[in-house]
Subunit: 279 residues, 2 copies
């Protein structure tokens, strides 16, 4: 095993920083650990302030600035905001912090919209997301920026993230709930669905079965891994080699519950890589 | 929801039958439920006689014939042997039973070898499997039958299936174990790995991370879903439509443990679809 992120100095060997309100962003980290295994990663889960969905815009802005500041102090070479709420409330502010520090910032929403716009054939794109994300209009705007007219069907799923976080992912209740959310998407004859919440990859097989295999699913993890790779490659900061980098976690809440809950989301060991962080 | 398999009569509307010694074959069923959602499925788990790895060839042959006979009596339109041990010991016998009944039989090994042979670019193929499967030489022979000379590196993993079945899939112990098995595969510079045991898809992300993303993983589930589709399409027996079919389970062992254990392997609800079967 290589050493942890903290021991790196500069260039390709600096870690990639992630932050999220809790465990959801671990599905994004999962994809990066699998797709870009040579990199080092440092993930901050602001679980002490979860859920972000219930915070005011000012509170979210403050949390995002504190955590982004911490990660920039850790000398990350790229910063990922792996959280829809934080991206909506503080994406521009974090990008500005990154610009000042000379560190690129990648957030959710944009990369998924870019992939969905590139792969749709019939131009009918679905978005499944939390009510807050749908009402923010973020995916709608990001799809409009692709410079092509799409027919976008957005479905707000109030109970899906809590059900998934609660662990009842494979119950008949979930199947019926998901079937209901898929109905308008099927009626709209979408050929591409953006999973607009980092919890949803855990039910990707169920969505694929209900929607049929001709519908392509776009996750933030897949989209962000691609965006990181392009960005680092263009700056000569992608780490070479076929070895594995290290990864570690700092959580503002309780360690044990983050490990227990997070394992389902990361699908890789969290184990003794988690430290409590008071910020 | 459509009705269960038992209510079907003929043609495309008959169910597809599966059998396995326990829960492993559920990773194959998972892929079929996602890739071919319109079909009905009936899965027999011979959990009352698990594990098959410790049975004699005669015992395995007898169990395979009993279960294949049961599924043929249920009027399946295609029969899948989703188990390496049963395929080694009784594949030919089950194929013969199917031939007499006019029902096509798809087993593991062949479809994975076919895909691996088609997608490898450097001709270096790895096989990760149980010691029994490796010593049977089944994958070696199946790759030879592809009519091209491959460099095949087989790694026998005695403890991987039990560790996965035991549930410690995301521990550091598993990571170290898998890293050890991957070492000869990396040294052999394989570009394609056959996951030669139906338990292994549960650690596919870990394998992908350790081997690097340039190595393509071939699972029995993916290969068999493709084989079923081609076979049924050629016979005009593929079910059309974008709806979901039904699926059910018959187990020769205890119901509750099959549901608990099986959920991790199916990644879809088993719930109240499981019945005990005395054969």
């Amino acid at each position: 095993m290589s050493e942890g992120p903290d021991s790196r100095e500069a260039g390709p060997d600096r870690p990639i920083g992630f932050f999220d309100s809790g465990v959801g962003g671990l599905t994004v980290l999962h994809e990066c650990l699998v797709s870009l295994p040579a990199e080092d990663y440092l993930y901050v889960g602001d679980s002490g302030h979860f859920p972000y969905g219930e915070k005011s815009a000012d509170e979210l802005l403050e949390r995002a600035q504190v955590i982004a500041g911490y990660l920039l102090d850790q000398d990350v070479k790229l910063l990922v905001v792996a959280c829809n709420s934080a991206t909506s409330a503080a994406g521009d502010s974090v990008r500005e912090l990154g610009r000042k520090a000379g560190v690129p910032v990648v957030t959710v929403v944009g990369p998924e919209a870019e992939i969905a716009g590139a792969i749709t054939e019939n131009g009918r794109i679905g978005v499944l997301a939390t009510p807050a994300t749908v009402s923010s209009g973020a995916y709608h705007r990001a799809l409009e920026e692709q410079g092509r007219a799409f027919t976008v069907t957005e479905v707000a799923a109030p109970d899906l993230a809590p059900i998934i976080q609660g662990g009842a992912t494979f119950s008949e209740e979930v199947v019926e709930t998901v079937r209901g959310y898929c109905r308008p998407l099927k009626e709209a004859r979408i050929d591409t669905l953006i999973l607009g919440c980092t919890h949803y990859p855990l039910i990707a097989p169920l969505l694929q079965r209900i929607l049929g295999r001709d519908v392509r699913l776009v996750t933030a993890g897949h989209a962000i891994a691609g965006a990181i790779q392009r960005r680092l490659a263009s700056e000569g900061a992608l780490r070479d080699g076929d070895g594995e980098g290290g990864y570690g976690f700092r959580v503002t809440g309780e360690k044990e519950s983050f490990v227990t809950l997070g394992t389902r989301f990361l699908q890789l060991p969290l184990g003794d890589r988690v430290e409590h962080l008071e910020i």
